[in-house]
């Protein structure tokens, strides 16, 4: 009943999108559910300009989108015609068959898209990616130079050596930070680091976890060595906290999301010294691994299965209008865009470098979510020193197995 156009006033007034009202939709209801951060706000604000007498645009940008998306799309008709998904959330929706293949829509309205933007699963286009993200290294080269370290570290062993030098030079007691808040963030750090070993999370072709091996142990040991150089509060550090620490000049090296690059390098919230010394570079490798210890993520548009074709088309067109070259050029530094017209900058060097270094995308298998949850809960004991790495990993596998059985992935 309150289905009405949301006007994104003020904050988006600066975006200067040149889209023409109407954008070629004759009628329909555009509705979008998504996460809430600046790049997506820009996309949705541009899509919002498609609203006119015949077209309604309704958007819900919330950090709790994961909690309502399955229920919202299961209903028929679905509450939202589109969800802005990532590698991991697309899988969740596909597990229940809640998103449709959009080959026809792409053929009809996707002339400007790069081939690489299409997320194709089993030959069908399921989503259109528009931005990439990854965690990678942020380095304060000025601090490292003061401690006698030249350039940016290329491996985590270099990071540890540099951290030791910074500490022993008395420059910083805790020069390193990762997003190590217990739960999802910490699990993501484990996943990143484990990716650097090149090993797989599951036994080939099955849903059986296989992280309790020498790679898993080495991964945990590496994380523990790194957090030894982190502030003792590291188990409460999410990406907001690490960014704040970084901008306050308390860190020399940190692994943060690429999407933070723009905010770190702008002139707000930090001193010129910190900004000028900050270099974004590819995620380091470690051990004998060749690929950067990180996972690549994309954000993209997926269309619900349970909506009318008319609404699906209207929503798709509106969102295409949200990822035009104009929008991207107006918000160049808000993300690492995959769209034509994006100009790589210092803020995107880290993500590009990580991708160029051959980092793998976050695994899109349906049971990865359960393993991620188990990791987030069970490896803190090891980091806090109350149990061995083997015990922690066997706890992870046990917790995962119980959860995967509940979800029908294991018998």
């Amino acid at each position: 009943m309150f289905l009405k156009t949301i006007t994104f006033a003020g904050a988006f007034a600066l975006m200067g999108s040149t889209a023409i009202a109407g954008c070629g939709i004759s009628a329909g209801n555009v509705s979008v559910l998504s996460n809430d951060f600046p790049a997506i706000q820009a996309v949705v604000a541009a899509a919002n300009e498609c609203a006119d007498g015949n077209v309604t645009v309704q958007a819900n940008l919330t950090k709790d989108h994961k909690d309502i998306m399955v229920a919202a799309l299961t209903a028929n008709p679905a509450q939202y015609a589109s969800v802005i998904v990532t590698n991991s959330t697309l899988v969740t929706l596909m597990n229940d068959g809640l998103v449709r293949s959009i080959d026809d829509l792409v053929a009809k309205h996707g002339a400007g898209l790069n081939k690489s933007q299409l997320i194709t699963i089993n030959g069908k286009v399921m989503a259109v990616a528009f931005m990439a993200n990854a965690q990678h290294l942020f380095t304060r080269t000025d601090v490292l130079a003061e401690a006698g370290v030249e350039g940016v570290p290329a491996t985590y062993e270099d990071v540890l050596a540099a951290a030791e030098k910074v500490r022993s030079a008395g420059l910083m007691e805790y020069p390193v930070a990762l997003n190590t808040k217990a739960g999802w963030n910490l699990a993501e750090e484990f996943v990143n680091m484990y990716m650097g070993t090149g090993a797989d999370f599951f036994k080939a072709g099955t849903a059986e976890a296989s992280v309790n091996n020498e790679h898993g142990v080495a991964t945990l040991e590496m994380l523990k060595s790194l957090v030894a150089y982190s502030n003792p509060d590291y188990l409460t550090y999410d990406s907001n906290a690490t960014q704040a620490e970084w901008e306050a000049g308390n860190l020399a090296m940190a692994t943060m999301w690429g999407s933070r690059g723009g905010a770190v390098l702008d002139d707000e919230g930090s001193t010129a010294e910190v900004v000028s010394g900050t270099i974004l570079s590819a995620a380091p490798t470690w051990g004998n691994g060749a690929r950067p210890a990180s996972t690549l993520w994309w954000d993209g548009i997926a269309i619900s299965a349970n909506v009318s074709d008319e609404d699906a088309e209207a929503t798709f067109v509106a969102l295409m209008n949200g990822i035009t070259t104009d929008v991207v050029m107006a918000n160049n530094d808000a993300a690492v865009w995959l769209v034509e017209g994006y100009v790589p900058s210092a803020a995107s060097a880290g993500v590009s470098g990580t991708a160029a270094g051959g980092a793998a995308p976050y695994p899109m298998v349906p049971f990865m979510g359960a393993l991620h949850t188990a990791l987030g809960a069970e490896i803190t004991d090891f980091l806090q020193g109350s149990e061995s790495a083997e015990q922690a990993l066997s706890d992870v596998e046990a917790a995962y197995t119980a959860a995967a059985k509940e979800q029908g992935f294991l018998k």
């Binding site: 994961k66 990439a132 808040k181 072709g205 003792p232 359960a370 046990a398 917790a399 059985k405």
Partner: protein
């Protein structure tokens, strides 16, 4: 009161509760006895901005057929309740067999998520509840002696911890107790320990959560006790004084018994609320050191890619049972009062 009159009076309230609490409880309980259908997997080629890869996917068409046939999923009996992530019967059995002593057994049990959460939940409940009652009572006694003019503002300030939304209250406190924050630095200075951090050690985190719990709930006990104090019968008090009772004796033998029913009311509400402790753990990012039963449920449902409804249902049912057990003494007392009063 006649049965049918009673029925009409209670109907609207009962209807709302049945629809929105009783039915959901039943459906959650039913769900907790089921697990999802076996997922039928196929290997597919998966292409995106970062290249192609062969990965397993759920075969939606096949799985949908299973779901349509039996929407609840596979019946699993108490399987979810007894698995490793809940009561963990197998693991507890093994731990009991293999442990060298009670302490060893306890530490093995503490490694299991349910028992770890239970340990904190019970500690929290039994530390915070009495402290809330004691502090609330003392503050009420104190405020009661204040001159009338400053009573009003004092009451407002006293209620602040309860009325400021926990979401932001905790965010600001979280910043204040940071090692760089005002409380954190003051503590470092007071204990002369530059490395002291409330967020880093499990013990300090537990203490911090409990202090927060008392701070947040003391106003509730305070306002109820303060109201109760206004009704302490003046004649009994005077009689006690004439009998030469000391201040302590008057408090002990007149005020306390008078406030007993209130204490029961507060304990009832507080035991229940504290047993469901959740918000401070989330706001203080404390899950590395302290989890509660409600937190496990929250973690099953919120913020992750997968939601585990069966698992959350099982933990919820166990929470209700836990609250039930906890409240037995209070309920027995209420039963007695009820019988006395009504007859």
């Amino acid at each position: 009161m006649k049965n049918h009159t009673f029925f009409w009076f209670i109907l609207p309230s009962l209807f709302a509760m049945t629809l929105f609490i009783a039915l959901p409880i039943i459906s959650v309980a039913i769900q907790s006895f089921h697990i999802e259908h076996e997922a039928i997997m196929i290997e597919v080629e998966n292409c995106g901005p970062f290249g192609c890869k062969q990965e397993l996917q759920v075969d939606v068409e096949e799985t949908v057929k299973l779901k349509d046939a039996r929407p609840l999923g596979q019946f699993n009996g108490f399987g979810t309740y007894t698995n490793r992530n809940h009561l963990a019967f197998t693991e507890i059995g093994e731990a009991w067999q293999s442990s060298t002593g009670l302490f060893d057994f306890m530490s093995k049990a503490y490694n299991l998520p349910f028992y770890r959460a239970l340990a904190f939940t019970l500690t929290y409940t039994f530390v915070v509840t009495p402290l809330v009652i004691i502090f609330g009572f003392m503050i009420a006694l104190g405020v009661n002696t204040l001159p009338k003019a400053i009573k009003g503002p004092t009451i407002f300030i006293s209620l602040l911890p309860m009325i400021v939304t926990p979401l932001i209250g905790a965010l600001i406190l979280f910043w204040m107790i940071d090692a760089n924050g005002i409380i954190g630095s003051t503590l470092q200075w007071a204990f002369d320990d530059p490395n002291l951090s409330l967020k880093a050690s499990p013990t300090l985190t537990w203490m911090m959560l409990m202090v927060y719990g008392v701070w947040h709930s003391a106003p509730f006990a305070f306002i109820v006790f303060y109201a109760g104090l206004q009704t302490v019968p003046a004649d009994t008090m005077e009689a006690a004084m004439i009998d030469g009772a000391s201040r302590w004796e008057r408090t002990r033998y007149v005020v306390l018994p008078h406030l007993m029913p209130l204490t029961i009311f507060i304990s009832l509400i507080q035991l229940m609320d504290n047993f469901r402790v959740l918000e401070p753990i989330i706001s203080f990012s404390a899950q590395a050191s302290a989890t509660s039963l409600s937190f496990i449920i929250y973690n099953d449902l919120v913020g992750n890619e997968s939601q585990f409804f069966g698992s959350a249902g099982a933990t919820s049912v166990l929470t209700i049972l836990g609250v039930g057990i906890l409240l037995i003494p209070v309920l027995i007392r209420t039963w007695r009062d009820f019988n006395q009063k009504v007859v």
